[in-house]
């Protein structure tokens, strides 16, 4: 279900998030550089980046909102639409291809009854592909939220998914 957020509503940062974004500015010689950090902070709060947060980030950094939107839509791991409570990112690069990730991907699609880019009806999982996770000697590899799972097999999938409600 899409959460309706009207873009004209002013986005309110929590005090904590705002302070964290402002702290990030110290790490760089130009405020624009904190764009990605700021988008990630907002995303950590909501699971995705709502429309009106774009303008709010732009205001803190003192750069145009269109630039923030350009950045938000460029990167794979910034979501501009709502995602489920858990995001499954399946490595679909060649190292995992060679050890059969496609079987796992198919099993996931079937079991969750969704295609990559979609979210289950109960909002529990979003399924996405991801580039090589740098663990090709232990593939197939997937990430769920911040956890990396190695040596995944179709048989092990249930036990892995069970950990995420």
């Amino acid at each position: 279900m899409m959460e309706k957020i009207i873009a004209t509503d002013r986005y309110q940062f929590t005090a904590e998030d705002k302070a964290e974004i402002e702290h990030c500015l110290h790490h760089y010689d130009d405020s624009r550089a904190a764009s990605i950090d700021a988008l990630k902070i907002v995303q950590r709060r909501h699971g995705w980046v709502p429309d009106n947060a774009i303008a709010a980030i732009a205001e803190i950094l003192g750069i145009p909102g269109s630039d923030i939107e350009g950045v938000a839509t460029f990167y794979n791991r910034i979501y501009r639409q709502p995602v489920g409570r858990n995001v499954i990112a399946v490595c679909d690069s060649i190292g995992c291809f060679l050890v059969g990730f496609e079987e796992i991907y198919s099993a996931l699609k079937k079991q969750l009854a969704i295609q990559p880019g979609q979210t289950t009806a109960d909002n529990r999982f979003t399924l996405l592909p991801i580039c090589c996770l740098g663990a090709c000697d232990r593939g197939p590899v997937l990430m769920i939220n911040d956890d990396t799972h190695f040596d995944v097999s179709v048989e092990k999938l249930d036990a892995v998914l069970e950990q995420y409600l």
Binding site: A33, S93, G95, F97, L98, C136, D137, R138
Partner: protein, 438 residues
């Protein structure tokens, strides 16, 4: 811990395995606390550099060591550094560590950062000192959550011990080191795209010249080096250029050791630190060879963007020039093996899907040519190819080749394709529908 490291190797010492010996000495456990790292020569290269060496001395030493960049292109590190302005009014300079590791098949930097975070931190401090940078960044891919945590912890410990921050070891020189985590796109690994990304922009590459050493991050002189490149520097400072050159044990004109690895359907996939120039066969043997019942069909020497090689090439030295002469690139040096039960066309299709998705979209041949290439490969995979499709793919390998696109992404994408057609043309031909009129 993600990778199997140095399985089957013994006699590992600081003299022979500068990149991984500490990890072995610590019983294959990560070294996370400063004390343990210090007890294993940790930060002694920094002390030596700051107390005994001028920045110019370190630059000369690195040049003499013949260290070449481990990020994929093998550019001599000493030469890269020598382009950075060193006069007193050079102003703000930056050192950036490329820890974006997204080249499919590559899992070496993750190992170095998760298990030996202080080793990279020390390497960055020493390298920043050598170019007199006062700000340094580790550009780390966001998915490396454990590495982020451990590097940040190491940085805090180094700061508390006076190795980072103001007036480092009484030298009057300051350094601020920050871990910047990215938000995912393969192109961020290209050094000028990385700089744009670090500046908070879309990661489109920049045109060169000017090179980053002259005008990089925020227009200031900047050195970008790969993780594995940098972690060699402290060892070179402690043991010298000659020792480093001799590490290759005559196997190569290149210097040092290299983290080599194998993935695919082999018995013991993993990562090994070996003299640079070790043969692909030696590396594959350490991985136990292919699983029972499988035969080697082809291999990618160092990532998705390198040309396929054949079993007949296994005895070649894995170094930049030898693999280059054989028509491929050593790239990152992590081998991927295709066996006789893999569908080669499907593998090439998978490779090109990756490159098509990861194109930054800046220039037309890459943005439009790669998805089209994928479409044609999908058809051939389903035996639905049309007459002329192979010639079309060959035309793409030229149209997207070196010098035809804004950066090396598209030429990299063409490497596995052109070599697949060269070596396995008949498999492409089998995917072309019989023409009814013939």
């Amino acid at each position: 811990m993600s990778s199997n490291v140095n399985l089957g190797l013994n006699n590992i010492s600081a003299e022979t395995h500068p990149l991984t010996w500490r990890y072995n000495k610590n019983n294959a456990q990560p070294i996370l606390d400063l004390k343990t790292y210090e007890s294993l020569e940790g930060y002694s290269a920094l002390r030596k550099a700051i107390k005994e060496m001028a920045p110019a001395d370190i630059q000369t030493l690195v040049k003499e060591s013949n260290l070449r960049g481990r990020g994929g292109a093998g550019f001599p590190t000493g030469i890269k550094w020598s382009l950075i302005p060193m006069h007193e009014n050079a102003g703000q300079k930056y050192l950036v560590c490329n820890a974006d590791e997204m080249e499919p098949g590559t899992f070496k930097d993750r190992m170095l950062m998760e298990n030996l975070p202080h080793q990279l931190v020390e390497a960055m401090i020493v390298s920043a000192y050598a170019i007199q940078a006062t700000r340094a960044y580790i550009f780390l891919r966001g998915e490396y959550v454990l590495a982020t945590e451990r590097l940040n912890q190491a940085i805090e410990q180094a700061k508390a011990a006076g190795y980072l921050g103001e007036n480092i070891l009484g030298s009057g020189w300051n350094l601020d080191l920050h871990v910047h985590t990215g938000a995912g796109r393969y192109i961020c690994g290209e050094e000028t795209a990385l700089i744009n990304s670090l500046e908070g922009r879309r990661a489109n590459p920049r045109s060169k010249p000017p090179f980053p050493q002259i005008a990089g991050l925020w227009g200031k002189p900047t050195i970008v080096n790969n993780v594995e490149t940098l972690v060699n520097i402290p060892a070179i400072i402690l043991r010298g250029a000659k020792w480093f050159r001799n590490l290759s044990q005559g196997k190569s004109t290149d210097a040092g050791t290299k983290l080599y690895g194998v993935s695919g359907r082999v018995k013991n996939p993993g990562l090994w630190e070996l003299p640079i120039g070790s043969s692909a066969r030696e590396i594959l043997n350490l991985a136990g060879g292919l699983k029972d019942g499988l035969e080697l069909k082809a291999w990618l020497p160092g990532g998705a963007s390198t040309d396929f090689l054949l079993p007949e090439h296994l005895d070649l030295a894995m170094d930049y020039d030898t693999i280059g002469k054989a028509g491929s690139r050593m790239g990152t040096g992590l081998i991927m093996v295709l066996d006789n039960q893999h569908n080669l066309i499907a593998a090439v299709r998978n490779l090109e899907q990756f490159f098509a998705r990861e194109s930054c979209g800046w220039c037309t041949p890459c943005r439009d040519g790669l998805p089209w290439t994928v479409k044609v490969l999908e058809a051939i995979e389903k035996n639905q190819g049309q007459a002329g499709d192979i010639e079309f793919l060959e035309q793409m390998t030229r149209a997207l080749g070196p010098g035809k696109t804004f950066c090396a992404h598209a030429p990299g994408a063409m490497e596995p394709l052109q070599s697949a057609i060269k070596y396995f043309r008949s498999e492409f031909e089998q995917g072309i529908k019989e023409s009814p009129s013939l």
